[in-house]
Symmetry: C2
Subunit: 193 residues, 2 copies
Amino acid sequence: MSTTIDMPESNVGKAKAVVVGPQRPGGWKKGVAIMDFILRLGAIAAALGAAATMGMSDQTLPFFTQFFQFEASYDSFTAFQFFVITMAIVAGYLVLSLPFSIVAIIRPHAAGPRLFLIILDTVFLTLATASGASAAAIVYLAHNGNQDSNWLAICNQFGDFCAQTSGAVVSAFVAVVVLVLLIIISALALGKR
Amino acid sequence: MSTTIDMPESNVGKAKAVVVGPQRPGGWKKGVAIMDFILRLGAIAAALGAAATMGMSDQTLPFFTQFFQFEASYDSFTAFQFFVITMAIVAGYLVLSLPFSIVAIIRPHAAGPRLFLIILDTVFLTLATASGASAAAIVYLAHNGNQDSNWLAICNQFGDFCAQTSGAVVSAFVAVVVLVLLIIISALALGKR
């Protein structure tokens, strides 16, 4: 009689162990989620800085030629307009993603918010990289010019303009690197559990 | 007596249900892995096509001017050189990633190869997007020129060259879209299980 009573008790114990199994006390997941939040703040700063620096880049030369007065602003180049709009959109997305990052801190084991973040991060990483790289191509041309197409370097005239746009491009690539890190962190948190 | 015997049996049933729970017969995961493999083949084709089209873009105009003979090739533009090298690297990575994709088909529930693929895919997505976007910026300039910096459009002279480079850029963006899809698919497969 005692053996038949012992059996169910040991079974109940096993069942409990199995139920508890998947819910490890993953403190490192909370740490990862907090790091995600901090990195996101850094990416917001970099993206906003890039958009603002590029948006305020403007230089009018203090002399006239026989042709016209020289003025350069981000409006002059389609790639720079695209850059300002895109980096503003990326910064806006990153601000809106902060609540989801907070949900991931509160519930470190929920896969939903992490999946949502990794997918949208990938899309906006592509957007940020595209705008940063196209602006970088124009900045490179402005610095070096191109012999074969007879495009002359404009940075000896527009030094301040070139410095501002170069800074904006560097800031954009900081945001890109942080977004790549965010995706890698989210993937690791999704994969190991 | 009969009631006390029924109790343990129902407990055993519950315990089994819990143990079986996490190991679903995830046939959709195998399907996702096969789709990953096929998309990867498409991305290889797009990346190789982009690198080859850009690498073979070359046009010499059949007339001289008083200055020099006009010739345009991908060598003329740093962004295009970067494009050829980068797309070749991305295509090489995608070929090397095929074995890992096959491992993911054979073992659909293993997180390791999927994590490896999602992290490297993100890095090479960034590389492919950067090269595609910088080449796109130059192609746009070649088509439209720029008033403020006095860069003239060269596509009326170099029509074939512009068509080839534009095609290469489009092909690069096909590869970028496929890489984004690959990352989203991998993230979904990692997250839902």
